[in-house]
Symmetry: C2
Subunit: 386 residues, 2 copies
């Protein structure tokens, strides 16, 4: 049984070819990958076992040939179902040598002594192995140098293939089907934590493999925060409720939200919703290859201000795909040039009153001549749950 | 609204006091924490926003006073609801200075130039910040030394308080209520991926806040793998099906599984189940403070062999709590001395036939005079779903 998304081997070969172009431009002899999304990207290896921090997992992208997997024995069967042929396993956990010697051998084969090993070290990356093991590895491989390998991964992963776009669209649509059913689970008197549980169940019922992210909030005249777990406070008339989900299907995320008024919608809420709907519309209409991330931020923020709103600081959108959020950030200073195939969350937010905010979010993909919606568009008027 | 589990400030103060004992014994002036479970442990800060890799989060445990949070502004409101008073925020993402200068200032206050900063670097730990940022931080703080701070975290986190044990018991029980309802969702002809979706929904219906982990397998006469996502293959008579869940409530995990025969149970499956039930029983009966992890492994493995089974290699159990798996590992070579308050998964597995395995799992807490079950015990006989 092939795990993960239904991609042909040619999909993965094309990804590796793109990585190698970027590696060559930076004189990187091989990439060393440790993070779930990077390993999934080059192999298709998909598991929830990443939740256990006990074991390290490594994939090497050498200058020629297929990637090499250096992984715990418990994953050999699953990795064997991917397009990878060279799978080297150790009986993990083995804290004295958690794959380090096996990995060092594989890197010695791929990288000459004067060579450079690219390791993602930049924004949005983490080294998923014990730091002490990395120091040991680094000593063992000297004089080979570890250099920042973020750029090849970022350049390749940012632009999605049609197969990847189809996966993200599918996830967006199943979440949309769940959002359509919010009236079944949310009404005045229902506690927000019950709504959160039920909404995750709706995502599963509509086809999510799992729900990696659900956040949101509810409060009178707006919510105060968008990253908190749900309290058990019952929804009350006059509340604004927001649900923001990162559901996953075949390893691909959606990341968008929906707002609902509880009982009735006061004018301030309707007006805020109108402004954010228009700002989102402006972002969707303006987004196209060639502009940069900061420019798109500026268009969205200016639309909010032009309509009399107070835009939230920070970013008003970001990439997504095999993680909930990816590069670039739609914010001042992010000069990333947008490219066709990038999948973005357009996420304008505003302050309704001090400590009361509203945030909208939709997912799009950039096409040669503009953008295409992946999420079903939110209703133009703030919906009310009675 | 206080986020996370309903612990009083004294719970967190006691944790920090234990950390400081371990820090003092190792001449560590301050701990620097970056990982969700470590930060949750000392602050109670609970969010699913960790799913986004865009921002770094830092908590410092200095030699005196409360911990200091150095975090993205988007989390200041939520952190403000915990017992932490000193919260320093920056407008993240800000890749040029992703909290590094703010963090360096805070560490300079807590650690003298000749001092030592403890950072978890050992087994089961990851540095959750871009590696390039860590190198920058390290340069900025010289001559202060970063040393392995794993031991204080491990020593403190391994032993759960009564409040933590109550949380884990609650999660175990809600998963048990979901397992009791497996006959509603699994029968011959139902695809395994549908069962996985429905089981997660049952966990939510029974009170899980979210379901961070579900794995398992199904196959004729046993499954071949325990970490794969579910295929869409329909369950067939003669299959053995296993579901293994890491549901979460108030930030605390369970981690145990249940096996079911589909249609009917062949003798080989019944026998394997009997052996694993007995081996689990032996582990529960033997587990007590003072013995070491390898000894407990030996008792479980020997029981399997004595009954004619072939025990799986690797570990046959592990700690759990605020992550799906924690130290120690029940395996040869792990000399960790077990202590009262440790919560463990007892997880014997055996090979039924080549490539066909069965794995049992229960969760216990060690008490002064033995162990106490936290998960409702599996039925002694392999249940059959018709």
């Amino acid at each position: 049984v092939r795990s993960g998304p239904p991609f042909p081997d040619t999909e993965f070969a094309a990804r590796v070819a793109r990585l190698r172009q970027e590696m060559a431009a930076r004189e990187i002899d091989a990439l060393m990958l440790t993070a779930p999304a990077d390993i999934f990207y080059v192999t298709g290896f998909l598991t929830r076992f990443w939740e256990s921090p006990a074991r390290s997992w490594f994939v090497i992208v050498p200058g020629t040939g297929k990637p090499v997997a250096v992984i715990p024995a418990i994953g050999a069967e699953l990795m064997g179902g991917t397009w990878i042929d060279d799978i080297r396993a150790w009986p993990a956990p083995r804290p004295d040598d958690e794959g380090v010697s096996l990995l060092a051998d594989a890197l010695r084969e791929a990288v000459p002594p004067a060579g450079r090993i690219g390791l993602p070290m930049g924004p949005e990356s983490h080294l998923r192995m014990p730091l002490a093991d990395f120091f040991r590895l680094s000593d063992a491989l000297a004089p080979r140098a570890f250099v920042d390998g973020s750029a090849p991964l970022r350049r390749a992963r940012e632009v999605k293939s049609e197969a990847e776009i189809a996966c993200i669209r599918r996830t967006c649509h199943l979440a949309g089907a769940a959002f359509d059913r919010v009236p079944e689970i949310a009404r005045p008197g229902r506690p927000l934590d019950a709504v959160f549980r039920d909404f995750q169940a709706l995502c599963l019922a509509e086809g999510a493999d799992w729900v990696s992210y659900l956040a949101g909030g509810a409060g009178p005249g707006g919510y105060s925060d968008v990253i908190s777990p749900a309290p058990d406070r019952p929804l009350a008339p006059g509340d604004l409720m927001m649900l923001d989900t990162g559901a996953v299907r075949s390893g691909y995320f959606c990341d968008y939200d929906r707002n609902h008024a509880i009982g009735h919608a006061e004018d301030a809420l309707r007006r805020a919703h109108d402004i954010l709907f228009a700002a989102t519309e402006a972002g969707i209409a303006a987004a196209r290859p060639g502009m940069n991330a900061a420019d798109l931020h500026e268009i969205i923020a200016q639309r909010i201000e032009a309509l009399g709103g107070v835009a939230l600081g920070g970013r008003l959108g970001h990439g997504l795909g095999t993680t909930l959020t990816e590069w670039p950030s739609l914010q001042p200073g992010d000069e990333t040039v947008l490219r066709a195939g990038m999948v973005l969350a357009i996420e304008p937010g505003l302050e309704i009153a001090p400590g009361r905010i509203m945030v909208h979010e939709e997912n799009i993909v950039l096409r040669e001549d503009g953008s295409e919606l992946l999420s079903p568009r939110a209703p133009a008027e703030l919906p009310v749950l009675k």
